[in-house]
């Protein structure tokens, strides 16, 4: 009797494997690529201004003890339009937001800010996505919470929705 039980064992293992595969195939795919830079200091960068009237951005702007948001965006990015009101709301709560415009032209940036408002105190231009790579960011928009010592504390991937505003405020408070 024990012998026939052992005969079925390989089939049972195979069925378990099939079941596991079928289960994993049903799981929603997670396409987000989290940055491995959390907890590490910002990489060195100094970007020219992305638009007339705003200063450029550098990692040295983040070393004065005040936590800030670092927003990676672009005027050609559609979700960034959806995010604009939430950035404005964060700015109205007293949050300082430094922007980095990826592969953008000054006139396009100016048009975007005129149309959707300007939540930024500084705006650097990253024409070759170099700072984006250095940050471990894989798309637009993405937002990093950076503490007053210039250390990256949190990454928000995708556009900021209304519900994310209190979460980001809490993260900024934690980073204080």
């Amino acid at each position: 009797m024990t012998k026939s039980w052992r005969l079925w064992l390989p089939l049972a293992v195979f069925a378990a494997f099939l079941g596991f595969t079928a289960y994993q195939l049903q799981q929603p795919k997670d396409d987000t690529i989290a940055s491995a830079m959390l907890g590490k200091p910002l990489p060195r960068f100094a970007l020219r201004p992305a638009v007339d009237g705003l200063p450029g951005a550098a990692q040295t702007d983040f070393a004065d003890g005040k936590p800030r948001l670092l927003n990676i965006w672009a005027s050609w990015c559609l979700p960034c339009i959806a995010e604009a009101p939430q950035l404005k709301a964060l700015q109205e709560q007293g949050v300082e937001i430094v922007g980095i415009a990826i592969r953008d032209r000054p006139e396009d940036v100016a048009r975007f800010l005129a149309q959707h408002g300007n939540p930024y105190t500084r705006l650097g231009a990253d024409d070759l996505s170099e700072v984006q790579f250095a940050l471990g960011s894989s798309g637009v928009p993405e937002t990093f919470v950076v503490d007053g010592n210039g250390v990256i504390r949190h990454q928000h991937i995708g556009d900021i929705r209304a519900g994310d505003v209190p979460k980001l405020l809490a993260r900024l408070e934690e980073a204080r």
């Binding site: 396409d31 989290a34 491995a36 559609l78 592969r103 032209r105 070759l128 790579f133």
Partner: protein, 139 residues
Amino acid sequence: MSRLNRIWLLAAAALSLGAPLCAQQSLPPAPYAYRQLPDPAQERAAHELMQTLRCLTCQSQSIADSDAPMAGDMRHQVRTRIAAGEDPEAIRAWLIERYGDYVSYTPHVSATTWPLYAGPAVLALIAALLFRRRLARRA
């Protein structure tokens, strides 16, 4: 409508759906996105590395295969760094430091990948043991 036509229409619809993800960008490609390095040996090294780096916005292509602007910028970065004398594996390590193992198509042994290497060895060992027992029984 013929079946072939319908397939073409579906393909066109699928392509137009994908378009907003890589929305219009007005900046020209990075200088070394599509231009090869003048030194053939360096270009070969760069190309070999680019074929094993994952495009972050298209995910199932290497940066050598992708026309996404971000992949172009990454090719530019790879080529300029190799032209500056940097070792290809150092560039890979720099990217893994930022994006995790995900960015590289050549797996290395780590906390999550060791079963890939240990699994076959364990299976081979079990098979060898079973085989020896069989042989011993027959003898």
